[in-house]
Symmetry: C2
Subunit: 364 residues, 2 copies
């Protein structure tokens, strides 16, 4: 156990393509400007610091309902007052040519409105996941971006994270043999009194917030779309955290190839882990989808080994933030488009329904 | 990672009680005699060699339909011809006072018949798991043993294995905090052309054979009985191995405490692993239920550590084989009685039904 040879046979072309910066033929001419909407923890601690390291992106505007935050981060990032917005004058971003992309980092229930208004203002949109709180909202967001002729991308950063890409490649390459099981578990203990626990803002509980990592991983690891889902929810409604949203919800996906994914979502325990098992062995990540610190293990031919990848030139945040400008300038679709967010939302609704109706739901 | 301190706080009284031999007040006077029925791989490679190391048990008779096996093992273990039986004269064990216990190690579909006939012959019975192939058969076995006034025990050897006992204790002690998830996976690649793949002999596929380890672990780790089950089966019926039995079947148990168990059973990939997660961390075994080589890991307060237990005086096989004689001589019920086997069989039938009907089954 524990040697650091890459038993999966070195980093493949697929991962390399994602790890690099621009490719010569699609090299953008300039950095595109981001407006960040919602100056909470994730925006200010993760997104904005990483924007500094981008090759094709820079922070150009701030949107917040809290004047003190605009003052603070405006000063810290050198954003002039002319590029500060609140939720009343938000639509005036239309008149600011420095803003190419609006990154919506608001509570889930506000994603649709602020993404659609950005599209209507003629801006490209990067929206955090979950894309919205219903399939109908996702469809409206896609329609608005299409009507504006602008791009819409969802913030699935794991699609830009080397260990996750390596795991995808391990499955695809056949190194594991025919896959039979994906087990994916995500959760954390949600502290009381936060917007996540208010359905009006979050649209749902652990599933919307952290379970979506298990769900999306099941799809990107399998490379398939599920055809059946069954689910089980457990929520202690006497716990003051769970007046409006669910705590635990676990589900099973059946994929066309015969692969089953067993997925976990929790607001009462810590989980950040997945394992894909095939006839020849397995690959696992733990932590799997954290901001950093991924660890990868394989068992092939009965031998357990750790896989360590070289540190990439750009971390997952930088790569994600650079991806949308690259797509805009090269005319390509983002690898995690609005359609990707819509697919997850359809499945989230199906998981909820399967749990509520205590029966398997067949997916179209 | 990887230090060997026992973070679970030393081996507890519960485990110690199981690890030891007899206790003074219940010390048996003599070794009881076993007849082993069915001289296949498990009987001849695991049970019979371990009987030599028993404190309260010894091999006294052999039952097989293959004369060459009786010759071979009769010579090897010094069992006289007078103590050899076949399936025709099997009931004559009644007249052999050297046989106290009949250990049924036949294909699953023969468990009920040969256990009941042993009870009717006035013998105590140890029967391999699964106890039988239906709830009705299990009930008949229990009734036969009761009528004979003899004991009936099922071969759940993990209940005698130190790491499994330690995991049970870790959950019970509260070391993990309130448990939220049990994930238990068991499977192996079943080679073609064996009795396991013939439903007439096995009663079912991976679930009956190896999935039962996930199922029983979910019960002994939680210390609870499930109240709801949902399940999903995937079997490639074009695979010649699966003309009559299932390949993959995964299920979810809901327990009264709110704990969910996600369980895996496979005849197409190797799995031998479980993890119990609570609010404070987790405990896992991999391999979990093998004949030997268990490895135990915990993560408590974010710190991952290996737990290594002292080598027990008796291995799980010896302890199991000694347990029934101890119970007989002290008048106690075996910790894994016929009732335990019946509970599992009820759940197996519910798992099959949930998968077949694509809906959750509420358990009485």
């Amino acid at each position: 156990m524990g040697t650091r040879r890459d038993v999966l046979g070195g980093i493949g072309a697929g991962v390399l393509a994602m790890l690099g910066g621009s490719t010569a033929q699609a090299a953008p001419k300039r950095k595109l400007g981001y407006a960040v909407v919602g100056l909470g923890y994730y925006a200010t601690r993760q997104i904005m610091p990483n924007l500094k390291d981008c090759e094709f992106a820079e922070l150009k505007a701030l949107v917040s309902g809290t004047p003190a935050k605009l003052e603070k981060y405006g000063a810290e990032y050198g954003i002039p007052k002319s590029h500060w917005y609140d939720y009343q004058n938000y639509d005036r971003i239309r008149d600011n040519p420095d803003i190419d992309i609006v990154y919506v980092v608001l509570p889930n229930a506000m994603h649709a409105e602020y993404s659609i208004r950005a599209s209507q203002a003629g801006k490209h949109v990067l929206c955090e996941k979950p894309m919205a709180v219903s399939v109908a909202e996702c469809q409206a967001m896609i329609a608005a971006a299409k009507k504006a002729g602008k791009k819409l991308m969802i913030g699935y950063r794991c699609h830009f994270e080397p260990y996750n890409l390596k795991a995808i490649e391990a499955v695809k390459s056949g190194a594991l043999g025919k896959p039979t099981l994906i087990f994916a578990e995500h959760g954390f203990y949600a502290s009381p009194n936060q917007w996540r626990l208010d359905k009006a803002l979050s649209g749902g509980g652990s599933m919307m917030d952290i379970g979506i990592y298990s769900l999306n991983a099941a799809r990107y690891l399998s490379g398939e779309e599920p055809v059946e889902v069954s689910a089980m929810e457990v929520t202690d409604r006497s716990d003051p955290r769970f007046k409006t949203v669910e705590d635990r919800i676990d589900w099973q996906f059946r994929f066309p190839s015969g692969l089953i994914a067993d997925c976990v979502s929790s607001y009462s325990s810590n989980h950040n882990h997945y394992r894909v098992t095939g006839r020849k062995g397995w690959v696992e990540l733990e932590p799997a989808t954290n901001y950093e610190g991924q660890e990868m293990w394989t068992r092939l031919d009965g031998k357990r080994e750790q896989v360590v990848l070289p540190k990439p030139a750009k971390n997952q945040f930088v790569r994600q933030l650079d991806h949308l400008p690259e797509c805009i300038m090269s005319g390509r679709e983002p690898i995690v488009s609005g359609e990707e967010g819509l697919r997850d939302m359809r499945l989230i609704e199906a998981v909820y329904r399967a749990a509520r109706e205590h029966r398997a739901i067949t997916l179209a």
